[in-house]
Symmetry: D2
């Protein structure tokens, strides 16, 4: 093996490129890595990150050095939160000799939830994440995706009894000027729904969620507006995107609404 | 180029294998191909098949010849139905010198559906398919996956008003002794639900589907049993598997039931 | 039933909304519909569209009328191409009384391809689509996603023999000022790769594609730059986004590059 | 709230069913839950399980009690391994008054891997899991899915230089008569490939994996046979299923092989 490893191996990536085309982002995608994230009630939570890590590539260079992204992740990626992300991005710009570095990470995030009446607890999963960029200044977007129950106001109004309802998915991207827990965003979104979802529901709980949803009908239009009102009312939030997709129980297709606002 | 193409290229696949291990199935997967399938109301329907084509490989041979699967598909794959599948399988066994050939194909299948009251029509998609094997005799399984509305009997019974409902997915595999339309299976499954889904629903239709679902509550347990009763009542059906998965609107997880029976 | 359908049913959607929040986009998503698209060699091709159809919703209204999206699709959605999309969008703005309408459609698109040496033909699928907006003027983006073979220049250079290669995915969004065939974009992308993919390859063809890839090594960085050069050289193209993701055969994660440019 | 919770709520699920149809499996699917699994080098590893939990339902009962699956998971689901699964299944049969209980769980499993030459380490993820049934006796199947590099023997043989290679996926289900680490199965599978994959590869490592793959060409047929030989040589393994799918770098479709054996 020694003859293989001792030979001086050329570095093709750093050879000069003559095509004169800078590349906005280059790096690695779909990198899975065990991480710890901050947890409002337990301080910390073990979970698994799915990372895209990229930097800009100046027009002079043929390629970036992909293995360095993994080396930086090994050192700086164990803890993923708003306090640690700047270090990870700084390390990327330094190791890759880049002006700009980006991270996109998504992870399952668990919250213990109690049933509304019996208070039986269980774990519920939310897809969360961060999108961050460093290019002189640090720019962060929080990502939270929350399943909710939505009950159709039209169906309720026009029907003698019942009302169609379904699982809906609320996806939000939020820019903040101060620390915000992932759980804070989840709470605001769940409060905007016909009813929140729960991991464990005994019969008294099921009665409660059924009636609560019936009393709080929501179109996808209502959902994006109610979440927008909640975000508008939180001074820590500067800008947001809200997307709601209802898995309509009367159709094979979905109802959809999207709203973006910078305060 | 001629020196490349004129050279006699060795056939590695047909060299002898000494590991003494026959392989159950070898071939190609994820092959997309435009097809025509039979349609109860329009005679024929253009759609797109996603194919897995395999044969057995005797222990004597190192490999199969993958390109021949595609060549057979080119000739025999344009029309996919119970009458044409035996020819495709026979061609596979001949071209690949195999005793056994298998096909799995899935395709989007469209049915024009009229709204229950206004009769407004639209197209609704179902995932359908065939699994077939030829090894001396021909063995066929039909595959149909149907989205439906299910309304929870417990939620209805215990609540003062409303009842949680949701989109559910009924997946069936059916062995038949006579010709059965894909639409026949779809009809039997939709009739077993709290209510069928529709592409276009105006307000009078929405009132109808809301009230119909409320009048016909179904657990996943009810769904598999009702579909089983429908299949039991059709003498063309010899055996079946039924799987139901409800995207519960009160939970982030699904309710699930499975039932298999050979008459 | 008549008592149900004759009753005047209230229109909740058009009731006034007091939250004072306009919604950017509201409509339907995941609507599957059989369509015809233009085909450079066959004139037309049957395929299946997956649609998102949306309009803006002024702050005054509680909701949009979801069923009308499906009705418009029924009338205007059979043929999907640059000539027909303006009519579909115009019909959406009129039926939904909106200022702005959007369509996103993705469909499998088949091209008959001949093997490079034996000329054996087969069908190869590409994911294609259109994103269009009408808000006074008509704005169109073409979408094409092409799988290619990429061979690593570094691996080739540093190894005594062989070079790792893999399937890569090139995803492009293109704004044009004149008619461009989907096949034109596919051709430009395939020509930029280490080698194009083929549905049927006999041994002389496999030799050709293996050697061709070895002679044309490409990083993801090379891929985005080569496609950018091709798009820069076509005066019908005004702006583009190019994304390349290599399913690295030496890693479980992917290499990724992204480049956007407005000429 | 008290009037709601104090009312005696009927138990619809336990009412008698007259359709005379027992159900094979009924329960919950897609339940996410944070777990700990056994780890050969670290003793334990935090990860996230995706569970399907089911029991049989006798023909006499209308339904099962879905919330109890979650309650049992809360108590018995924190540690998932061969020693703990019997307790979880026993609790399911008791709480659900069933004769048979089933668990299917899949989880990301991380292994620290060192690069072959530089020994740089990183984390690599494998999808692992268990399928277990209790119905008087306890029956366990281990599930391991491993990405590998495969280099085509035909392409190597017929080409003057180079050889197409790609990421392949080896999926195995294994019945054992003694304790086997997930890592043991992963090792056997990786050793059967043209080359294993690695999270971090510096240039000397990349040279090594490129040349190693070139020296060890493997068809999908070779892969299933080599893994079968490895499993045959381990007396702790009683039966297995092996599935290999190569993301062919010269085609848009995959090569596939499947082999099952009970010793």
């Amino acid at each position: 093996m020694s003859d293989r490893t001792n030979s001086p191996l050329p570095d093709i990536q750093k050879t000069q490129d003559t095509r004169n085309i800078p590349i906005d982002k280059v790096g690695v995608r779909g990198v899975k890595f065990p991480i710890e994230v901050l947890d409002r009630s337990q301080e910390r939570q073990h979970t698994i990150g799915n990372f895209t890590l990229t930097v800009n590539l100046p027009k002079e260079f043929k390629g970036t050095h992909m293995s360095r992204f993994l080396e930086v992740l090994n050192v700086y990626g164990r803890e993923i939160n708003v306090h640690k992300l700047p270090d990870l991005l700084k390390a990327l710009t330094e190791r890759l000799t880049a002006k700009e570095a980006h991270i996109e990470v998504r992870f399952p995030f668990f919250v213990e939830k109690a049933a509304p009446v019996t208070k039986k607890t269980g774990m519920m999963e939310f897809e969360c994440g961060f999108d961050a960029t460093a290019n002189g200044h640090f720019d962060l977007t929080m990502y939270v995706r929350v399943p909710v129950a939505t009950l159709c106001p039209c169906s309720k109004e026009i029907s003698q009894y019942g009302a169609h309802n379904q699982r809906g998915w609320v996806t939000t991207r939020v820019k903040t000027n101060d620390f915000v827990w992932l759980e804070d965003l989840i709470d605001m979104i769940e409060s905007s729904a016909s009813c929140a979802l729960f991991p464990v529901l005994k019969r008294p709980d099921e009665k409660w969620v059924t009636e609560t949803a019936y009393e709080n009908p929501r179109f996808v239009e209502d959902m994006v507006r109610e979440v927008a009102l909640a975000f508008d009312g939180d001074s820590r939030i500067d800008a947001y995107e809200i997307e709601v997709e209802n898995e309509e129980s009367i159709h094979a297709h979905n109802a959809y609404a999207y709203l973006a606002r910078t305060k």
